[in-house]
Subunit: 332 residues, 2 copies
DNA sequence: CCCTTGGACTAAAGCGCTTAAGTTCCCGTC
DNA sequence: GACGGGAACTTAAGCGCTTTAGTCCAAGGG
């Protein structure tokens, strides 16, 4: 039966390839994994046989054999509406893919649509099932429970952001805070003296980092800190700043709408800067001054770092690109 | 060695659970898969043992044993900038996750950042590696090469959209065209007689479907078709329509900017409708009339259909929600 | 009382790889 | 000319499940 050459179409296995190349299956395995122990000619013959049969090693079998899933996990816990507005995620994702493309790791994505903090269970399950070899963490919160959960899971992880507490994993960060400082400095340069800050969700570490950057920049300029608000443009405008630094374009667009409602002209009565240079920035009116961070590079670096950690190799260095301030009409 | 109770911490296996529950590993397998052949009491004992050990079946081992990956694949081939602007993808994704959450299938995501059509290779590779049990196809193009590739791969697939050619897979579609017709009808009602159409990429089937819906609606109203353009708002405005139906909010925002440049007031000189009700719609000025399609429901249904196909079960019925026209200032 | 039947469970053979531990064979060495 | 050593392969034992083919036993039927 199993030797029947007329067997039904099934996926070829390593043995089919071995037979066709006239070697043992171990030789095929060696050849496919670039290990030494196979001669040049033999290797070529094996690869040719594999090509002719259209064979690729079975990922599950491989995973089982070497105890590695060959995949990494990314869990997102923001509500969809937030993801939609925020270009971070997709750019970061594109970067991850770029890093993964050269290896043959896959990306397991899980979008947890819940409100509130991530269900740490979800990580544990994926880890317990051996579906992934490691995790990428983004949207780090100040008190992030996921870090503990992952530490217990025994899998490597890489944090995209700067964890507040002690953290056993490698962490990468962009120069986003510097970008926010640049936006603030830009407004100072324009002569503003009452510059407010409008952030998103207070619990995210990056919001806090940006708040600090804003404060520090004002300090450097010898200015009093302006009003600070999170989430609500109305609150931000209530204190009547002459300029407002926002941590996302969506917030800035919200502030724009609020300003319009109050009869304030932008940038005349109120200068506004956004963040991330999303499509909103160029298309809103007036177009928003914004800051562009290379999140794709960030994603690529984070994935590369994770792959290195999985391979127990030294982590690659990450040189985050400088943020770019893109000045448009909203800041005068 | 292997019986050493003080062995190093490693993930528990089915045998550990079996031993603890005092049964064979087969019984554990049966219990975990809800098959008959284990008594109620035994089943409970097994589940308890599994819980105590924190054991979940290994996904790779399972995949190998049953010849199923336990994962589905979604490949995206739009350039990132497009994905960013278009809320379809994330909403669709959220829906998929909703469907997957109850089963224990994982989602393998691949973002192909290339320009141009999808590299069909990418599908083949994932299939050949046995990483996925089926595919979800979106962004169907008129002449879509992926359908042939997938048909050859021998894996089930579900098409989110309406394939133009013959297609061996189940296909689902929303009532988006109806939504575009509603937007058109809305403009007709407002008294417009010269209503243009501005689409995105001509090669997508859904753009064509919307173009047709627009044309049909105008016909129904006894109006001549207005100017048609793809991609470029400037072209759309050159023919001086009094109203413009756009197939995305980003296009509509572009048209808005173009109108402003030409000194046209919106909606006074030109009424504009967008599509998808993205964050852009509410935040641009004037806010955009738009159409909301329940893409999350769509994603959920598509994933459910795929899971059914994989299980060789009859496909669930999909009752696409009615599109909702959201009228805002841009249409008068 | 024997035989069938079916439910509860076990033994063991895969699934398609990887890899530790050989086995050959050849080459260089003293 | 025997011998050590290394490159090129092979053998076979896993990896952790699923599943087929039993085994065993109690209950029911004749």
């Amino acid at each position: 039966m199993t030797e029947n050459p007329e067997q039904a179409r099934r996926r070829p296995t390593i043995d089919d390839v071995a037979r066709r190349a006239g070697v043992s299956s171990a030789a095929v395995s060696f050849a496919m994994n670039g290990r030494r122990g196979v001669g040049e000619a033999t290797r070529a013959r094996i690869l040719e046989a594999a090509g002719e049969l259209g064979w690729s090693p079975s990922a599950p079998a491989r995973a089982l054999g070497r105890g590695r899933a060959g995949a990494i996990g990314l869990l997102l816990a923001r509500p969809v509406e937030t993801l939609e507005v925020d270009p971070f995620f997709l750019r970061f994702l594109a970067g991850i893919e770029r890093a993964l493309a050269s290896t043959d790791h896959a990306l397991l994505l899980r979008v947890l649509d819940d409100e509130g903090p991530v269900d740490p269970e979800a990580y544990g399950r994926l880890a317990a099932q051996g579906r992934v070899d490691g995790f990428l963490l983004s949207d780090v919160e100040l008190e992030d429970p996921r870090i503990d959960v992952l530490a217990k899971a025994g899998l490597p992880a890489v944090v995209a952001g700067r964890p507040a507490g002690p953290c056993p994993f490698a962490a990468l960060e962009t120069r986003h805070a510097e970008g926010l400082a640049a936006a603030t400095a830009h407004l100072v340069e324009r002569g503003h003296e009452r510059i407010g800050f409008l952030g998103g969700l207070e619990r995210f570490e990056f919001e806090q980092a940006r708040l600090q950057a804003w404060g520090a920049e004002l300090g450097r300029a010898g200015l009093e800190p302006g009003p600070v608000a999170f989430g609500d443009p109305a609150v931000a405008l209530a204190a009547e700043p002459t300029a407002l630094v926002c941590t996302s374009d969506a917030l800035a667009a919200g502030a724009l709408a609020e300003a319009r409602e109050r009869g304030l002209s932008v940038p005349g009565d109120l200068a506004i800067t956004g963040f991330d240079d999303s499509s909103l920035a160029a298309l809103s009116s007036p177009p928003l001054t914004s800051v562009r961070i290379d999140y794709a590079q960030f994603g690529e670096a984070a994935a590369a770092a994770l792959l290195a950690a999985i391979a127990e190799a030294p982590p690659p260095v990450f040189e985050p690109a400088a943020p770019r301030l893109i000045v448009r009409a909203s800041s005068g």
